[in-house]
């Protein structure tokens, strides 16, 4: 296992965030259940699908359930199939809410909701040029991550496995490369199903994780949100503590090169 990167402060778009657990607001049984889970998660960044809310209406049930004095709102463009649609939605969100942060999602396939790399890059370029702080949702593609970083994205958000599958970090080898090479924060988004997956991502060197389905469809969403909070905090503590190297086997014997030591030993 590679040595874990030392933990730096999490700064996105010039803002320091005090939690490495980001949460989504879809799929909950009610706005109240959602708000309670967000609160229990201790998250500092909450993403909301623009298609689900009436962003122009301050009395929207989802938006008004959340206390935005505690969390930063991260509007997302979920449902957009092209760069053009995503850019239009982001601008709508900025005009209505005042935030220039956007979680860029361009997912032309309505089933697995896998992100379109070409349209995502195109939209990211336009949005950055227009002054947005862009957090793009991507497949775990290290080259795409570099390209998005180059055009000025504030983070990259590779998926662990397809949205909503709860399968954990199936793309672990690619995410490892992204983490190794990134100059912006890496947020593992999508597919994280259990607190252990979230801890694994942070332990590997991810800067943050984003969770939605695993919390929303748990029998007790608030309890699950707290479990994720604790897992992320545990992994952060572990990184701060400086973990020892792990190796596949004990190092007692050297069957192939043992003779070298023996020769040395005999000579001295």
């Amino acid at each position: 296992m590679m040595a874990t990167k030392p933990l730096k402060k999490l700064v996105i778009g010039g803002v320091e965030l005090n939690s490495r657990l980001f949460v989504g607001t879809g799929k909950f049984s009610s706005p109240e259940a959602m708000a309670a889970a967000v609160e229990a998660s201790g998250s500092a960044l909450v993403t909301v699908a623009l298609r689900r809310v009436d962003v122009r209406n301050p009395e929207d049930r989802t938006l008004s359930a959340l206390d935005f004095s505690k969390y930063r709102l991260l509007p997302n463009t979920s449902g957009a199939r092209t760069a053009e649609e995503a850019v239009r939605l982001a601008k709508l969100a900025r005009a209505a809410t005042g935030t220039n942060w956007v979680k860029l999602e361009v997912t032309p396939d309505p089933n697995y909701l896998l992100p379109d790399p070409i349209e995502t890059l195109k939209a990211a370029e336009q949005l950055v040029a227009d002054g947005f702080v862009v957090l793009p949702y991507i497949n775990a593609d290290p080259i795409l991550a570099k390209r998005l970083q180059d055009v000025g994205c504030a983070t990259v958000m590779p998926l662990g496995s397809p949205i909503g599958t709860n399968r954990g970090l199936k793309t672990v080898d690619q995410i490892r490369i992204i983490i190794e090479q990134a100059t912006v924060p890496v947020v593992v988004d999508a597919g994280i199903g259990m607190p252990s997956h979230a801890a694994e991502a942070i332990e590997m060197g991810a800067d943050a994780v984003l969770i939605n389905t695993a919390i929303a469809v748990a029998r007790d969403p608030s309890a699950m949100a707290r479990a994720f909070r604790l897992a992320v905090e545990a992994a952060v503590l572990a990184r701060e503590a400086g973990p020892g190297e792990s190796t596949a086997k004990a190092r007692a014997s050297s069957p192939l090169t043992g003779f070298l030591h023996e020769t040395k030993g005999a000579a001295s």
């Binding site: 049984s29 298609r51 239009r88 309505p110 469809v217």
Partner: protein, 375 residues
């Protein structure tokens, strides 16, 4: 591109019936354990042998629905534009030869209906009509759509089949969903019920929804009219059709409806009625075969059954529907396509959805995706 019509025309429906009838308990168990279901697995889940596994199917269906869609039910309402129709179909309340009060709403009347529907909370609208191009045509639809864009966030149509370039015009204008029920997938039985008019052309109807897919409709809705054919082979065909559409129009979401025939002006009683246990078996089988499809429940079904289907696989529900043009404003029943069973107001349905631990979602799309909001 080939068409699903080719697939159906090459299907031996008698053999499919036999395949389904011969499935055993172990075939059902195999299907329940499979991660990716084959057409044979679907046959097993629709078979008489699967009746003993209905609880396991429901459990699996509920879990899959929750995982893919979350604890939400999306709400929509139909708005009937016209009951004019050139087709003669033996089961339909709008059938050409029936002496009913015929009406096509003016754009002003559509707006009046739309505002009443919007006041009930709806943000997703389904525009419905009989099939008569003299009344419901592209210029009329474009005018209606431009008004509806000001009121609703999502617009779908369920009207006569159109040409691909006509669908393209409607997509550009702001229509994001297309619904065309094939009614009957067995071509022989199809001809028995569709006696005269353009709808008699089985193949054209299957081709039309593919035109909508090519034109960029984001949602493609299909279904078989239950009561006309052997529900097992029909549901099997719907499943295959759904999978075919999803593969070919990978950017469109699939929606499957399960309309059961009810009393209507033609006083048609279903030849092959589908009972509640079979109905639930079919919905669960469809969820297992098409995990990502929206499964739609209209007010054709009685209140108690609808309530029990929340969370079991259904993801989209209508409420408070009127099935005659102008029915929201006039409150009369003249010229209805069919009588609804669940007449409870939308507010009450939403409350029941919430009591069952789900959120009634009124808005799950935004005008900004397709066209800037007018007005």
């Amino acid at each position: 591109m080939s068409s699903f019509a080719d697939v159906m025309e090459q299907t031996d429906f008698a053999a499919v019936r036999e395949l389904i009838a011969s499935r055993t308990a172990s075939d059902v168990e195999h299907a329940l354990a499979a991660e990716q279901l084959s057409a044979d697995d679907l046959a097993a889940l629709l078979s008489p042998a699967a009746a003993d596994f209905i609880e396991q199917m429901a459990q699996r269906s509920a879990a899959l629905t929750e995982q893919r869609f979350g604890r939400v039910v999306q709400m929509y309402a139909p708005l009937y534009l016209s009951n004019e129709c050139v087709n003669k179909c033996t089961y339909c309340g709008f059938s050409h030869e029936l002496k009913i009060a015929r009406k096509t709403l003016s754009v002003e009347e559509v707006v009046r209906e739309a505002k009443l529907i919007r006041e009930e909370g709806f943000r997703h609208l389904l525009l419905v009509s009989g099939e008569d191009r003299r009344f419901v045509n592209i210029p009329y639809l474009l005018e209606v759509v431009s008004e509806m864009n000001k009121i609703f966030d999502s617009l779908a149509i369920e009207i006569q089949p159109l040409q691909e370039d006509e669908y393209r015009q409607l997509v550009l204008a702001g229509v994001d969903g297309l619904v065309i029920y094939q009614e009957l997938y067995d071509p022989e039985r199809y001809r028995l019920y569709h006696v005269a008019g353009p709808k008699r052309n089985y193949r054209n109807r299957l081709l039309a929804i593919e035109g909508g897919g090519r034109a960029g409709m984001r949602s493609l809705g299909i279904g078989t009219l239950l009561g006309l054919g052997d529900w097992r082979t029909e549901a099997w065909s719907v499943g295959l059709h759904g999978r075919w559409l999803s593969r070919h129009f990978w950017q469109s979401r699939l929606a499957v409806s399960f309309p059961r025939i009810r009393d209507c002006a033609g006083e048609y009683t279903p030849d092959l009625p589908v009972g509640d246990p079979e109905f639930v078996q079919m919905i669960c089988a469809m969820r297992l075969f098409l995990p990502d499809a929206e499964l739609v429940m209209s007010t054709r079904e009685p209140a108690a059954l609808r309530d029990n289907l929340i969370g079991l696989g259904v993801t989209r529900m209508s409420a408070g529907s009127k099935t005659n043009p102008g029915g929201y404003a006039s409150q009369d029943h003249e010229g209805e396509q069919f009588e609804i069973e669940d007449g409870r107001p939308p507010e009450e349905i939403a409350r029941i959805i919430e009591e069952r631990g789900f959120e009634a979602v009124w808005k799950d799309f935004d005008r900004e995706f397709v066209a800037p909001r007018g007005g």
